[in-house]
Symmetry: C2
DNA sequence: CCCCAAAATGACTATGATATTCATTTTCAT
DNA sequence: ATGAAAATGAATATCATAGTCATTTTGGGG
């Protein structure tokens, strides 16, 4: 973890950038926090330890991490984007439209089929976005109660 | 087609709405046009015949059609949403990041696997968004030219 | 055809996420 | 320590979309 942060900073320096306290703080919180954070959520967390972190810096840091390949931008259609560390293996998402919870899944057969479909269309895929929306276990009506509301 | 427009208007009337020239014009162009249109694109087309169609009305019409189930909102992460008629069967999209072209595909096995994955997570899916990004046939480098740029 | 209340319109303004600007502060090689 | 480049943060700009509101359109009685 410390290793990771140092590696990223080194990479920034090697491309003409400079180290920065604010950015280091933001990155630390980002990689330590739960996944699928909003810029606003991350800013709030960052400001707990350093009251004068600006939202602009959080936006810039996340964009930088995304550009460097250490973060992924997610868009579940909520208005604001979410970000997650890209250190874990590729996966797609289950988004609960009731409580907002986001679960992750990996399905190699879906991945394969996507490759296949793309190939059949003469298409060279570089990435994809798959999000399944619905109700998570806790939010789905089990029997038939609460049809209204 | 005329039938469809009349059916939609009737449905609007049956829920307390009134017919409208502007809206009829916008709907006509929407259903007649190619798929995956932006509000701005549709507004431009609509204004050719009627110079004073307001963008607000196009937004409202599209929202209305979406609410009534006759249009689907798509978001390929371009900034602006796209809309398509929902009269065709469900399908997902291949988006070319070079020329912007959007192709459609249907892969029942992917659909099934999504259901299965959701079930395994105790999740009740209601919809999903799948978009594959990359280069279409015309935009993909065939051999090995143009590695840079 | 006329009236009129409800609905729709379109110009304008508001909103909200994100990007940009710019004066100030940090960083760091010399 | 010094200075130039990079980073910051507050303020402002941008851009898609939503809301406001005065005006126009619609359509069901007279
Ligand atoms: Mn995830
Ligand atoms: Mn389509
Ligand atoms: Zn839930
Ligand atoms: Zn293309």
């Amino acid at each position: 973890m410390e290793r990771l942060l140092r590696r990223i900073d080194d990479e920034i320096v090697s491309t003409g950038g400079k180290r920065s306290r604010s950015r280091a703080h933001i990155m630390g919180i980002f990689f330590r926090s739960g996944r699928h954070l909003t810029v606003e959520e991350l800013t709030r967390k960052a400001r707990v330890k350093n009251r004068n972190i600006g939202a602009a810096t959080v936006y810039r840091t996340l964009k930088l991490l995304a550009r460097m390949g250490y973060a992924k931008e997610l868009d579940f259609g909520e208005g604001a984007k979410r970000y997650e560390s890209s250190l874990t293996a590729h996966h797609d998402h289950l988004v609960c439209t009731s409580c907002g919870n986001v679960a992750e899944f990996e399905e190699p057969r879906i991945e394969k089929l996507q490759e296949k479909v793309a190939r059949q269309h003469g298409f060279s895929p570089t990435m994809h976005r798959l999000a399944i929306y619905g109700q998570c276990r806790g939010c789905a009506p089990s029997g038939e109660k609460e049809k209204t509301g």
